[in-house]
Each structure stands twice: as C-alpha cells, then as structure tokens.
C-alpha cells in the first residue's frame, strides 16, 4: 500500500434532524481502489460531496496527504488533487465534449492546445471520444468517458466515482475497470461508490460499508462473500424472501399468441411473434438487457401504446387485443408501469387522489361528486397494509422516497384484488429493504391465486421470484423456462444472442 492520501476522522453531517453522516472514519491510500458500499440513503453521496467541497461537514477532520484541510468549494478540492465523476452526469448538454472538459480547468478554453492535451490523455488511457460532438448526441457510456477524462485532465491524486457502472453495458464497465486499474497503479487513490457487490469484489481491495450514516464495517471485499457484504449493508435477514406454500396453478390469465407490435416513435423496438402464457397462481419473469422491447411489451399488454400488427392478447379467456386499459382492468388486470412519478402517480397529487388513477376503472368512487371519504380510506389502507412510510397522513406522491412510493403503487393495485398483475421493473432504484418487501408482496399475491408477470432487468430479482423466466432480445421473446432447471449462463446467452423465433412457443 502506498502513502496515505486521505484520512477522514469523525465526519458528521446533519440535514435537519436526519444524521446523514455520523462520525464517519475512512482512510484511502495511494494505489488503492477503495469501495464505499451502502444502500440508497446510507450517506455515501453526502460523504463524497463533503470530500469534494460541495457540502461542509458539521464536525470532523479531513486530512489530505497528512495535512488537515478545509474544503470550502470544489475548486479548493480540485486544488488538493481530488477529482469526481458524478452519478448524474454534470455535463453541459449543448456544449461539445471539448468545451465540457475545458470548463473546470482554470484559465483554459476549448482551443487547439487543449485538444492536443486531451487527445494525448485519451490515448494514454484508451478512452475513445468524439471531442466535437455536442454531448446530448452521445450515449451514456460516451458521456461517462467525457466525465472521467475531464477529471483526469486535472491530474487527480484521488478520484471519486459515484455509481459509475449503473449506466454502462458490461463491455463498457470492463473498459472502465481497466482504466481505473491503470490509474491506481500509477499512484492515484480511487474511491468507488457502488452497490453492485460482484463488481466491488472484482475491482476493490478494501471496502468501507455505511449503514444509516455510520460505518458498520471495513473489510477486504475479496475475503468475504457477496452475501456477507449484502448483510452488512442492509442488516441481518431482511434480504431473504419467505418461500410461499405450494399451490396449484389455475386457468391461463394472460395469453399472448403470436403478438407483433409496431413501435411508437423512431427509436422503439418492433415486437415479433411473441408467445407467452401466465396462469393463475404463477409468477413469470421477463428478463433481458434494457431496450430490447420490454417497454414496448409492457405498453402492449397494458393497452397503453403500440400498434398491434398481428396476433392476439387474451386476458381471463377474453380477446382484449383491441380493448383499452380500463376494460382490461375490468377483467381483473392491474398494471404497475416503470415510471413511478408521472405515469403511475401524479407527482403533485396527494396519495388519496392518486388512488383514483387506477381505481376509477372498477371502483365506485362516487357517481357525480368524488367520494373523498372513500379515496382517503383506500389510501390509508394501502399505507398501513403495505408499510408505506409517509412524512404526513396524506402527502403528495413526490414527497415519498422511491421505495415507499413503489410500495404505495404496488399496494394500490393489489388492493384492487387483481387476478392478473403486470409489473414493469418492480424494484428499479429502490433500496434493498423496500425491494424485498415488494417482491414478497407479489409472491404472496400469486400464492393467493393471481397470475403475476414481472418485467425486470435485474436477473437476481427474476431468479428469486419467478417460477418461469423468458428472455427478451431484439424484440423476440424466448420460451419461458422453469427456473430451477435454468442456469445463469443459459440466461446470459439468451440475453446476448436470443433464441431462434421458430422455437418461441411456451
């Protein structure tokens, strides 16, 4: 291990009554890739913002290269050799890549001299970048390379990366790891924030784990299992799904028969000849890399969008191919879209009003005037039954955290007692505790006799929940296979190469 780059001692930061960081200690050495692990809201980003001069700690000491420092601004932090790659990119959309790189460099403009330096740096680290294109035309991976290159131009001794791989393809992530390893071997200290445990175990030699603003452990991630790391992050026992009792499967509730859908918009995926059956009491998951037609499939099943060019959708035995979402709801279907705010809920509306969004199709909410007593009662029942943590008795949807809002949306649909539940990305951006709660809720729903279809990019989630998994690739859906007989390698192959459509019957 090289010399000590950073030592944080007793760092404390409170927002109102919430202690985001509570006496956090952390040490980073030169040449080290150090993981900062924790759930959403554990205080990782707050800690890093203090190290980058964006927030001021209430108490505690920051030492850089042994010297105590105060960091009143990001400029001061950069002057101390600290660079940061943000989770939500801090790029300027209408500017070219080169201009974006010039902005934080004191005294520089986007001229030929800077271009030469940037190109040299990019070659050295093998980062391919089109410097003259406006950022809004670039992919997520390209944008991140700009952010990294921008940080590298300042010759940082310490580089902070906040969940850098969440937007990358596996290949792009591998390329990033190679860059980080070469940086570390050149003497930089790297702080790597993530909650992808396998990635951390592959890349990092040390890990500091935060829970509820406190350091709960510092460990070598390669010496412990991913399950042990997960348990440290979320506390004991909350990650396990309770197995449901054996139950018989009933009638087919959802049946897609040779469904082909033309997409809306220019960037959509065309769905081709999709066959799928979900029976009552069964959980079926659709896995796949994002952007392979899952959104289009959800829209077609819910009746929200897409032009059906061939095939049939049947729900509860009836042909609903040409029917709208409300008549599908009246047949016992319930839908949870991917976007919690804006699609599943009205952000500014209180939870009691948001009940109406799906309940109006089937519930009696008043004939002429809205029955606010009833909507309020339904909202309270959802909040109690599904453990929705709210800041007040009837808050606006936007005031809830992602996990609690998702619990509310799922709960709102389950309160309608659906016979078919279709959920798009049930735990996207939700902390582990809420995710487990939502998954358990859906399993219980299936055990009670409903058909459940889950569309998920999280393979662990699909494996944990589903009786059968089908994989989406390039607008085709593979046959749904029983989970116990299915290996990860097999699913991985289906995700990247798909399956010949001729075999597609389930």
């Amino acid at each position: 291990m090289g010399p000590e780059r950073i030592r944080l001692t007793g760092i404390t930061k409170a927002f109102g009554t919430l202690k985001a960081n509570d006496h956090v200690d952390l040490t980073l050495h030169a040449g080290e890739i150090h993981a900062l692990l924790g759930e959403n809201g554990a205080g990782k980003s707050t800690l890093m913002k203090m190290l980058y001069g964006l927030l001021r700690p209430d108490a505690g000491e920051i030492r850089i290269n042994g010297q105590p420092v105060t960091l009143p601004s990001p400029r001061a932090a950069r002057a101390q050799g600290i660079g940061m790659v943000f989770q939500h990119f801090s790029l300027f959309e209408d500017f070219t890549a080169l201009e974006n790189i010039a902005i934080p460099l004191d005294g520089r403009i986007a001229d030929a001299g800077l271009r030469a330096e940037v190109e040299a740096k990019a070659r050295h680290f093998g980062l391919a970048i089109a410097l003259d294109r406006p950022v809004h035309t670039l992919s997520a991976g390209e944008r991140q390379r700009i952010e990294i290159l921008r940080a590298l131009m300042q010759e940082p001794q310490v580089l902070i990366l906040d969940e850098p791989t969440s937007v990358l393809t596996p290949d792009e992530a591998e390329a990033l790891f190679a860059t980080l390893e070469s940086l570390a071997s050149a003497g930089a200290g790297i702080l790597f924030i993530s909650h992808k445990l396998e990635e951390v175990r592959r890349l990092c030699s040390r890990a500091t784990i935060l829970r509820g603003g406190k350091v709960v452990a510092e460990t070598d991630p390669r010496a412990v299992s991913a399950a042990e790391l997960a348990a440290l992050m979320v506390g004991e026992g909350v990650l396990d799904l309770r197995p449901v009792a054996d139950h018989a499967l009933g009638e087919p509730m959802l049946h897609l028969d040779g469904l082909s859908v033309a997409p809306e918009g220019v960037h959509g995926v065309t769905l081709r000849d999709i066959h799928l059956t979900v029976r009552a009491g069964e959980v079926v998951a659709i896995a796949g890399v994002a952007g392979n037609g899952q959104s289009e499939l959800y829209a077609a099943i819910s009746g929200e969008g897409g032009r059906i060019t061939a095939g049939q959708i049947r729900m509860a035995g009836q042909d609903v191919t040409r029917r709208d979402i409300n008549s599908r709801r009246r047949l016992g279907a319930a839908f949870v879209p991917e976007a919690r705010l804006g699609q599943a809920t009205l952000p500014q509306g209180p939870l009691s009003e948001n009940i109406i969004l799906s309940w109006h199709a089937t519930g009696s909410l008043g004939r002429w005037l809205l029955d606010t007593v009833r909507t309020g009662a339904v909202a309270r029942r959802v909040i109690e039954r599904f453990d929705v943590r709210t800041p007040s008795s009837d808050p606006q949807a936007v005031q809830l955290s992602g996990g609690n809002l998702q619990k509310y949306v799922v709960g709102r649909e389950i309160e309608r007692q659906p016979r078919l539940m279709v959920v798009d990305q049930p735990s996207w951006g939700v902390d582990a505790r809420a995710a487990t709660h939502i998954r358990q809720t859906l399993l219980d729903l299936a055990a009670a006799g409903a058909a459940v279809l889950v569309i998920s990019q999280d393979l662990d989630e699909a494996m944990a929940m589903a009786d059968r998994i089908a994989v989406m690739h390039g607008g085709y859906l593979s046959a749904a296979r029983p989970v116990p007989a299915l290996s990860r390698a097999e699913i991985g192959l289906l995700m990247t190469q798909g399956e010949s459509p001729a075999r597609g019957a389930a």
Partner: protein
C-alpha cells in the same frame, strides 16, 4: 438616390437602441437569467441621461449617466433574483413598472426641453465613399460603439474563458455548481452588463434619436429588444440582422406615412410591433420554440448547503 444615404442613416439610428438593449439582454439570458425589465431599465436610462446632459450641458456625460442608471436598476433586479431567489418573470415585470414610474419622476422638470445633436463622427477616407460613406462611416459615436459591442459580445461569449463559464452557468446551473463555478457571481456580471446596455440604449433614445425627453418615450422598444433575443435563438448575427430589420421597418413606415400610400397611419405605426408578433409566431409554428435558449433560463438557483 440622394435620399438613400439619409434613409440608411436613419435606419441605423432607429436600429441602434434596439441592437444595444438586445445585446445586453442576450448576454443576461446566455447566463440563464431572464430579465423582463429591459423596458424599465431603458426608460430610466433615457430620463437620467437626458437630465444629466441638461444639468451638465454634456451629452456625452448624459449618455454615461444613462448607462449607469440602467445598471443601477439591474443591480436591484440582481439582488432580488440572486440573493432572494425570487421568480424572475415577476421580478422583471415589476422592474419595468418601477422603471416607468421612476423615469417619470426623474424627468419631471425636463419635459419638452430640446438638446442639440452630438456632432457626427466621420471616419477619414471611408466617409468619402459615395452613398455608403455617408450612411455607414458617418454617424454618432454610440453607433460606432454599438458595432464594437457586437464584436465584443460575439467574441467574449465564444472565444474567452469567461464567456465559456457564462454559457455553462446558463446551460445548467446545477452542473456548474457541482464543478465549483461561482454561479451567482457570473450571473451578477451578466445582469449588470445587461442593465448597462439597456441604460445606454435608453440614453441613446433621448439624447441622439429624438433629442428630447417625454414620459413613456421608450414606447415598447424594450419589449422588441426582448423579442429580438428570442428571435436570435442564441446567435449574435441573427440578433444584429433582426435589429436592423426592425430599424428598417420603423423607418419604412415613417416614409410610408409621409408618402400617403392610403393605409391608416396608426396601422403603419403598429407595423414594428406586428412584425414582432409575426416573428415570434413564426418561431413557434416552425417548432423552434425555445430553441437555442439557455438550458436553465429563468430558473431560480438555490444551492444546498
């Protein structure tokens, strides 16, 4: 043909205040601040400039005083918008109302007093060129200053580090703050620059264009300047083109009125304003509404602590 240099010169005179005010607002909006108080800053510049010129018997001093008065009013706007993070639209409208009232007060004792013209500047040799020489290379010093300002703004925004940072702050103040740029300080400079130019444009109106003061004499030119900035969509050359186009229409309608072409004079006087609406409508219909505007235009900036 003898009329042509004279007509061209009047076009430039009519266009110059629009151009100067619009250049200032262009810079302010590039920094992400929407200041709808241009009309107010302009009229205060006109009143203060005229009053100062009469009191000191110096039109040059009057022009400087007018510009500073516009800047002082923009400092009030900056205080509200940057420190108290008020709504920029409401604050800008209030600034215009306040400016109109304040100008009436300042100019109270000066209504109807005439001022002599500032002697024109003649560029040696170039002013001897037939037609163009008298139109372009002979004029008041503020006209030449406005040409310099075009180059200064275009070069400053696109070729200097400060221009890069100013545009970055306007594009996304969140990203700019995350990178440690002094968002508020940069915006303060942009707002003050906008106020300085609006005041200068106002002083030009009362001391060079009309050469007398009367309340409400800015007559909506501040709003036309704002429309020009929208029309320009972030390009200085389009702003210049638009300003001279409007100057041309203003002069054309004057000549049309004199020439009695049979249209009511009220309609002809309304022509520049109708053109403003037509230009904005055209931008809207062609689907370019808001295109080229700075990304965080009009949004208050409140950093977390």
């Amino acid at each position: 043909m003898e009329m042509l240099p004279f007509i061209l010169a009047t076009v430039f005179t009519a266009a110059t205040p629009l151009l100067i005010a619009a250049l200032g607002e262009h810079v302010t909006e590039r920094a992400g601040v929407l200041n709808l108080g241009v009309e107010g800053m302009m009229i205060v510049g006109a009143a203060t400039g005229f009053a100062a010129a009469v009191l000191t018997d110096s039109s040059v001093f009057g022009i400087i005083a007018g510009a500073l008065a516009g800047m002082a009013l923009s400092a009030v706007f900056a205080l509200m918008v940057l420190v108290f993070a008020t709504n920029q639209v409401a604050t800008g409208l209030a600034l215009t109302i306040m400016g109109l009232g304040l100008a009436g007060l300042i100019g109270q004792g000066f209504v109807g007093q005439p001022r002599a013209a500032i002697p024109p500047v003649q560029i040696p040799l170039l002013s001897e060129i037939p037609v163009l020489g008298k139109a372009i290379f002979t004029g008041d010093f503020v006209f030449f200053l406005s040409l310099g300002l075009i180059a200064f703004v275009a070069w400053g925004l696109n070729r200097t580090r400060f221009g890069l940072l100013l545009r970055a702050v306007g594009e996304s103040h969140g990203s700019a703050h995350a990178l440690g740029l002094p968002v508020k300080r940069i915006r303060l400079v942009a707002i003050l620059f906008g106020g300085l130019l609006a005041g200068l444009a106002g002083a030009y109106l009362s001391l060079i264009y009309t050469r007398f003061w009367s309340p409400g004499m800015s007559a909506g030119r501040g709003w036309i300047a704002l429309a020009l900035v929208v029309f320009a969509g972030g390009h200085v050359w389009r702003l210049v083109l638009g300003a001279y186009l409007f100057g041309g229409i203003t002069v054309a309608q004057l000549h049309a009125q004199a020439g009695a072409i049979g249209l009511p004079s009220q309609f002809l006087s309304a022509l520049p304003y109708l053109m403003t609406i037509a230009a904005l409508l055209f931008l809207s219909i062609s689907g370019r509404k808001g295109a080229g505007a700075a990304g965080s235009l009009g949004q208050p900036f409140v950093p977390e602590r």
